[in-house]
């Protein structure tokens, strides 16, 4: 059932999109090269290496155990699996034979060297904002890394998405090429932050809600998205976003993977490891300045949690959670995250929080914070009902407010995470 709905929807939109294209609307109008908002290192290779950090290229283009940037990491979408491309300089398997213009077109318009459409799993909807100079520098760097002749497996996408030309319609509906245009009413730092966040950083790929066809919701940028059964939290100034974080808090999180509010983990791990911890202090500051300028989203309205569920959840919380997170939900800063005011705990969609309880989670180890503090899995220990109760309790205690969690939410995630376990199950005595 999961896959039929998007397929049907796509068929309908195909028709509508075809009309739009016929009407001559094209997303591929040449855009002017924007005023450079970029690092000033003169050496293009060195600059390109740093741009690869900003873009977190390794996060998707290096598969576990594979050669750097040789691709092959499977990305799951509701349309099937896409394997990331080899972007090493190998002339056949990689991009060694691509010209600078072809590379720029991939970044700017989402087209392969042969002109065929790339899928937006490659985030060209953000990379289009990158300047031509940065695109050239990035390519210059990629041509210097060791070539790998590894060819990733073919994608396994459903019809009609498996036909690359279908992206013509998708692009017509959801994509507009164009480099970043700085705003004269904002500071240079804000513009630099916006250039990174909305461009190479492609933060919205996870943090912006998506429509049925996986395109960004234009009205809700960075207000929290769902990807591969994780909810990436709201990054606006909302109470369940970054409202309680200071600019320094954001900088510390990006630099060390932790701050007084939160420990980075789950899907953010790879971003922290390959990208934000490697950035310059100035860029982290500028990202924080930009994020702090985002107007708060509309917070979810709490419908009030049933009293008996809260009582039961509170008892479970004191037994199972309070040793680390504290009876008052304050946690221990940078060791055990606070649940009081936690963004993850207060997202409208409780997926991330329930997954943490079911499967456990590990804080990302970074150079500054090398200890991978971990939360143990509770799937083997707590029932769906108990997890719903304790999650509801946390979402509505310590000043938090979020809709209750249903037993069905937990059961569904238990099913999904068993199918895609994210970490080793704890070794119960019987299994030894």
């Amino acid at each position: 059932m999961r896959r039929v709905l998007p397929a049907l929807a796509f068929a309908c939109i195909l028709a509508a999109g075809a009309i739009a294209v016929a009407a001559g609307h094209t997303a591929q109008d040449p855009a002017p090269v924007a005023t450079p908002v970029q690092s000033t290192t003169p050496d293009p290779v060195a600059r390109g290496r740093y741009l690869a950090v900003l873009g977190d290229c390794a996060g998707c283009h290096t598969r576990p155990g594979g050669a750097p940037l040789a691709g092959g990491l499977p990305l799951q979408s509701s349309f099937g699996t896409i394997y990331t491309a080899n972007i090493t300089p190998d002339p056949k398997a990689g991009i060694g034979s691509w010209t600078a213009d072809q590379f720029w077109r991939a970044m700017h318009e989402g087209r392969r060297a042969d002109g065929a459409h790339l899928y937006p799993a490659f985030p060209y909807v953000y990379f289009t904002r990158v300047s031509r100079a940065d695109s050239d520098a990035l390519r210059a760097y990629l041509l210097t890394i060791p070539a790998s002749n590894y060819t990733p497996p073919p994608n396994t996408l459903m019809f009609p998405v498996n036909i690359r030309a279908s992206m013509t319609i998708w692009n017509a509906l959801f994509f507009k090429a164009g480099t970043f245009q700085p705003r004269s009413d904002q500071s240079a730092e804000w513009n630099r932050g916006a250039y990174i966040v909305t461009g190479l950083g492609h933060c919205g790929a996870c943090h912006t809600p998506k429509n049925l066809l996986q395109a960004d919701s234009r009205s809700k940028p960075l207000q929290g998205g769902k990807i591969e059964d994780w909810v990436a939290p709201d990054l606006t100034g909302a109470p369940n976003g970054l409202g309680t974080w200071s600019q320094d808090d954001i900088v510390e999180f990006l630099k060390t993977g932790r701050n007084a509010h939160s420990n980075g983990g789950a899907s953010m791990s790879s971003v922290l490891i390959h990208s934000t911890t490697q950035m310059s202090d100035e860029d982290r500051r500028d990202i924080a300045i930009y994020l702090k300028s985002l107007a708060p989203s509309q917070p979810p309205t709490a419908r009030g949690a049933p009293g008996d569920l809260m009582a039961e959840g509170g008892a479970i919380y004191r037994d199972q959670c309070s040793a680390c997170h504290g009876v008052d939900g304050a946690g221990e800063p940078r060791l055990f995250p606070a649940l009081r005011g936690s963004a993850n705990a207060q997202q409208r969609d409780p997926t991330t929080m329930v997954r943490y309880i079911l499967t456990g989670s590990q804080s990302t180890a970074t150079t500054d914070r090398p200890t991978p503090f971990a939360m143990p899995a509770f799937a083997w220990k707590l029932s769906d009902h108990q997890i719903a109760a304790v999650a509801t309790y946390v979402r509505n205690s310590f000043g938090n407010s979020a809709p209750p969690v249903s037993v069905g939410d937990v059961a569904s995630l238990r099913h999904k995470t068993a199918a895609h376990p994210i970490q080793k199950e704890p070794p119960a005595a019987e299994q030894r």
Partner: protein
């Protein structure tokens, strides 16, 4: 035919506390280091998660964290008149296995030995005369002083984030700390743990009777702590599951919580688990270690060549590996020749239970090194004239967590089984506490380690044979400590006390301490020691053997702090001297 791997700069045999310290220091020097651990990988979230770490049946009764005796054990006898038999169930001591070693299930008791402990022979002879040290008491000076080790004790205490109160800061006695300790350069990195009721009652009684109580130095963190490597420990929750358990709360200092998060990220460090070293290979002249041969998980024999071999398994296994590898000459008590296996020592413990009617002590609140202690009767802190023994031990009331399967205090006269026993346990569980004594064992001519002539391990190698008994010195000393403990127990004004002296021969069945020392001892010259004071083999200079095996005799303290200090002194010597002239002795005989 063993497969030969590419040579590495250094190979570590065993990957517990000492292996982790060695790995961290040697990789910092730029060396490529391979660690070989016969057991499995273990980390906090996977193996000691708070959701199941406090499981007495699994860990206390079924010994999950300890050496698997069906694979490898040792044989034991009290004296040469007996035939040693293999231990088939652990009892008196509990060596760990797997990554982190015994350091995973320790209590976190971090002590410094007394300055006089390092001059055990010369100090006692000069103060009490030659007769104070009988001929068959084979104690000797260490060849290092407390001052030599002070910087390295300090380094370990800051690595672990030890919670405590200094008693002697640079020679100034500080109220509230241990006035008998050697001078320290600075206070502990964290304040003492909050103290429960029972230890406070003990401290009051000890003070009122003229002793000097102070909080036990604890590698159980009293507050969130980031160590010099950037690794973080969390505040202890007093869950009461330290000894024999892994800490799921990141509060007890172990290799996992202090070093491994940094070490495992280093590109010049490699850990191979399920890799059991068979022997250290020597050059034809026997003066250079060429590497080690080990058996991997598939049973393949593999030779790992190395420039530097560090033997850092458990102290007993270190001695066995030297014997199996023909490094040095085995000790023979009948001729007095040979040194490997000589001066095996242990510790002697006793206790006094106090029972109240009117005080609820909540003994389940606990931490491994939580308690109030006094060292008035440790080492040579008191006048031994006329007592007939040397050495001593600490006395203290520790509250390590009265885990329900293990803890069932009953007074004298209570039934030992049935409903009467159950009633006595129920009545006393919340109202009882235990004062313990922890005494030194001097080395003795007959107490030793060698290879068993009969029994072999799963890989066909002879087991280690332990020949050990307490001597008059230990019994007199322990009885003296127990009498002092009883005095303090009575001064606590309980309903009654119960005195548990250590009588008779050493018995390997009841748990006492996992403080096995000696067998490959250090010293100032090769005539009476296996290792120089940098823990370098006198015979094979590119072999170092850090561990409690180096203690010439034991002291009245837990050994880990001193093992760590000796290890850091060793790594410092490797960094500053050995690597400038590799393969050369650091001390010329």
């Amino acid at each position: 035919m063993a497969q030969t791997l590419p040579k590495t700069d250094a190979v570590l045999i065993g990957f517990g506390w000492v292996g982790a310290m060695m790995g961290q220091e040697l990789t910092d020097m730029g060396l490529n280091v391979v660690a070989l651990e016969k057991g499995s990988w273990r980390d906090t979230p996977t193996d000691f998660a708070t959701t199941f770490a406090q499981d007495e049946l699994r860990y206390y009764w079924r010994h999950e964290l300890f050496e698997r005796l069906n694979h490898e054990t040792l044989t034991f006898r009290n004296n040469d008149g007996q035939t040693a038999l293999p231990m088939r169930h652990l009892g008196s001591f509990l060596p760990g296995s797997n990554v982190g070693g015994s350091g995973v299930h320790w209590n976190g008791q971090v002590w410094r030995f007394l300055p006089t402990d390092f001059q055990a022979r010369s100090h006692n002879v000069s103060r009490y005369g030659k007769a104070a040290v009988p001929d068959d008491m084979t104690i000797q000076d260490w060849g290092v002083s407390y001052d030599d080790l002070e910087p390295y004790y300090d380094k370990f205490e800051y690595l672990c984030g030890v919670s405590g109160k200094a008693g002697n800061l640079g020679g100034q006695i500080v109220p509230g700390g241990d006035p008998f300790e050697g001078p320290r350069r600075r206070d502990y990195p964290n304040p003492p743990l909050d103290m429960p009721y029972a230890p406070m009652l003990f401290a009051k009684a000890a003070s009122e009777t003229g002793r000097h109580p102070f909080p036990h130095p604890a590698a159980n963190s009293s507050r969130p702590y980031t160590n010099p490597l950037g690794v973080q420990l969390a505040q202890c929750t007093f869950c009461g599951f330290c000894e024999k358990y892994g800490c799921g709360n990141y509060s007890k200092a172990t290799a996992q919580t202090t070093i491994l998060p940094v070490l495992m990220r280093k590109p010049n460090f490699t850990l191979r688990t399920h890799s059991e070293v068979m022997k250290i290979e020597l050059s034809p002249d026997g003066k250079t270690a060429t590497g080690v041969t080990y058996v991997d998980a598939q049973g393949r024999e593999i030779f790992q060549p190395a420039d530097l071999v560090i033997l850092c398994a458990y102290s007993l296994e270190n001695v066995r590996m030297l014997l199996l590898s023909d490094v040095g000459k085995p000790y023979d008590p009948s001729t007095g020749e040979g040194l490997v296996g000589k001066n095996y020592a242990y510790q002697i413990t006793s206790s006094v239970n106090v029972f109240y009617d009117d005080k609820i002590l909540n003994p389940f609140i606990g931490a491994g090194a939580l308690g109030m202690m006094c060292n008035d009767y440790n080492g040579d802190n008191f006048d031994h004239s006329g007592l007939g023994f040397i050495g001593g031990g600490y006395i203290g009331l520790m509250q390590t967590g009265a885990r329900p399967i293990e803890t069932h205090p009953t007074p004298n006269g209570a039934p030992t089984w049935g409903s009467g026993w159950k009633r006595a346990v129920a009545k006393n569980y919340l109202r009882a506490a235990t004062i313990s004594t922890h005494g030194a064992v001097m080395s003795h001519k007959q107490n030793r380690l060698d290879l068993d002539p009969t029994y072999k391990d799963a890989l066909g190698r002879p087991l280690l044979r332990m020949t050990f008994d307490f001597t008059d010195n230990e019994h007199k000393m322990s009885d003296y400590l127990t009498d002092r403990a009883a005095e303090m127990g009575r001064a606590m004004n309980p309903r009654e006390i119960k005195v548990n002296k250590r009588a008779g021969s050493y018995d390997i069945v009841p748990y006492q301490t996992t403080h096995n020392t000696g067998g490959a001892i250090m010293g100032a010259n090769p005539r009476d020691s296996v290792l120089n004071t940098y823990l370098q083999s006198w015979d094979v200079p590119n072999l170092f053997v850090p561990g409690a095996n180096a203690f010439p005799q034991n002291a009245g303290y837990n050994p880990t702090g001193t093992v760590a200090a000796l290890t850091y002194r060793c790594t410092d010597a490797i960094r500053t001297h050995y690597l400038k002239a590799p393969g050369q002795p650091l001390v010329h005989a």
